[in-house]
Symmetry: C2
Subunit: 143 residues, 2 copies
């Protein structure tokens, strides 16, 4: 079984929650599909194969994923909350195309290090951060 599935089951058990058919289905689709999906995105994908699943269940399950640590919440300013699977990969930030909506991930240790330094200069203890760069992707620029 996938590492993430295992992690979720342990989380449920630890919290006195139950493993259900719906949660399995939602997790499978969440792990398989594209990243940066909104609740609605995922709900619509799920409905195709599982007409019975309710929006509220998808919403609640994604919330559990983030509490469990297998999903991260993103907010790119389009009014939709998005979730992405936390893979074994490191933390990363995003370039977001204002034209086509493409999301490019990047990671720059030098920027991370400078953030630490800035925080330190202000006696500030970092819990999390987000860096989002908006603009136009290569594809959209030369079209």
């Amino acid at each position: 079984m996938g590492e993430k599935k295992q992690q979720f089951r342990e989380f449920l058990s630890r919290q006195g929650l139950k493993s259900t058919r719906q949660r399995e289905i939602i997790l499978d689709e969440f792990l398989r599909g594209d990243s940066h999906l909104s609740t609605e995105d995922l709900y619509l994908k799920l409905r195709k194969k599982n007409p019975g699943i309710g929006y509220a269940t998808v919403y609640r399950t994604l919330k559990l994923f983030s509490e469990c640590g297998i999903a991260e919440v993103r907010n790119f300013g389009d009014g939709q909350t998005r979730y992405e699977s936390t893979t074994c990969e490191e933390h990363h930030d995003h370039l977001i195309c204002k034209a086509c909506g493409a999301i490019i991930e990047f990671e720059d240790p030098r920027i991370e290090e400078l953030q630490e330094q800035v925080a330190k200069d202000h006696g500030f203890a970092i819990v999390s951060h987000r860096l989002e760069i908006f603009g136009h992707c290569a594809k959209c620029l030369y079209k």
Copy 2:
């Protein structure tokens, strides 16, 4: 008259819009008060001296400020849109305390430069960006 007030009047005239008592009052309060205010924050402050002013007017006027370039829209993830006056100061980013809500501004040319580099590496043209660091401020840490 303040530079920003002048700038707003010229904007209104250019757009065929009118200068009104309400817009003057809202601009005065916006320029005087704290920064990073939500529409509701500003609305409540205004009501104390000007009971007649409507929420919709505050909302619409703040939108005009941002179109005019004298205000910038901020979204720190608490579900409220905030506005801050664009002073002559440079662009800056934010440290946000999760405990007390304090907002500390900073500016680091080295980070900005690295962002440019990242974008360049991806053939991406930057329009804007935001860097927000969440955590605990010095004051909250030693309390």
